[in-house]
């Protein structure tokens, strides 16, 4: 594999490993508060948390890691599919 691509993948992997750092911030982004309006869509992993796992930092981290991996695989996978579909026609 291309050396740059390999290095960027390593950086991405390290970012996923340390992503629970993002959990240390307490609070919600400005304007993203829960205003109690029933949502039109039920997200499968709301707020990157799996309440069934329990609330310890380790359990929250497991859910956060899982979320990061799902997000990375799906966003990367979707762009590969879209990109391939576009370039194969050219």
């Amino acid at each position: 594999m291309d050396e740059l691509l390999r290095n960027l993948l390593i950086v991405l992997a390290v970012m996923i490993v340390v992503v629970p750092i993002g959990l240390l911030a307490v609070g919600t982004a400005y304007g993203e508060w829960d205003i109690g309006v029933s949502s039109t869509w039920a997200a499968p992993i709301p707020d990157y948390a799996l309440p069934s796992l329990g609330g310890s930092f380790l359990n929250q981290s497991l859910a956060y890691w899982l979320s990061a991996i799902i997000g990375v695989v799906l966003s990367g996978g979707l762009l590969i599919l879209i990109g391939r579909a576009i370039t194969s026609r050219n």
């Binding site: 740059l4 911030a25 400005y30 949502s39 992993i45 997000g71 990375v72 990367g76 879209i82 576009i86």
Partner: protein
């Protein structure tokens, strides 16, 4: 936002190269993960970098529109982050305002300097700083207009007007989150420009022939 997505799709159809596809995927994944790094600030609020300034500089603003939109779409669908109803506004702020501000600021400051010049690293940093600030400004305007637009039984769902939302969004960005976006953009740009400048948007067309005295043979 829909016409912007349509135009971005059309731009990709015309300009996307085979070898850029893995970088497209990396860009979306990178943007998704970096938005998970919530940064706490005094006052109990949080925020995060977006990565769309970097993507706009490296792969072009229209690529940033598509990749950051996909990351935001997955956030909303899978994790209820941002939410479906705010997806259009979020994409406008982070996948349209940010990449274009970043790209034009970066281009303006860079001028015709070498791709590995210090001035370009500075340009990338300033672009990241101003892009996130512009995105926050747009968000502040949209939030501040809500009390005038949406209300249930006379009570606004979102109670604060522009005089509160604009300073709130701008101050927390100018003091905190814009610096995060600036540092990420400058460091990653410096690394990419040294590793493989040929992947950088608009690079090959302008520079390669000047450096290579032998014109490349037609294939």
């Amino acid at each position: 936002m829909i016409p912007i997505w349509l135009y971005a799709g059309d731009w990709l159809r015309k300009n996307l190269k085979d070898r850029q596809v893995p970088y497209l995927a990396l860009a979306a994944a990178f943007s998704f993960v970096i938005m998970m790094f919530n940064v706490p600030i005094p006052g109990g609020s949080t925020g995060h970098a977006v990565g769309s300034a970097l993507i706009a500089i490296i792969l072009g603003p229209w690529v940033a529109v598509v990749t950051v939109s996909v990351a935001l779409l997955l956030q909303a669908l899978l994790f209820g982050d941002g939410g479906i109803t705010a997806l259009g506004a979020n994409c406008f702020n982070m996948a349209f305002v940010m990449p274009f501000v970043a790209f034009y600021v970066y281009s303006f400051i860079s001028g015709k300097t070498e791709i590995t010049s210090k001035r370009r690293i500075l340009a990338a940093g300033v672009a990241g700083y101003l892009a996130l600030t512009a995105g926050a400004f747009a968000t502040g305007v949209e939030l501040g207009l809500q009390p005038m637009l949406h209300a249930v039984d006379g009570a606004a769902l979102f109670p604060y007007g522009l005089s509160i939302t604009l300073p709130a969004m701008l101050i927390q960005s100018l003091l905190f989150f814009s610096f995060v976006e600036a540092i990420v953009t400058a460091l990653a740009f410096a690394y990419l420009a040294r590793s493989d400048p040929t992947i950088i948007f608009n690079y090959t067309r302008r520079r390669e022939q000047m450096k290579d005295p032998i014109p490349s043979a037609p294939v």
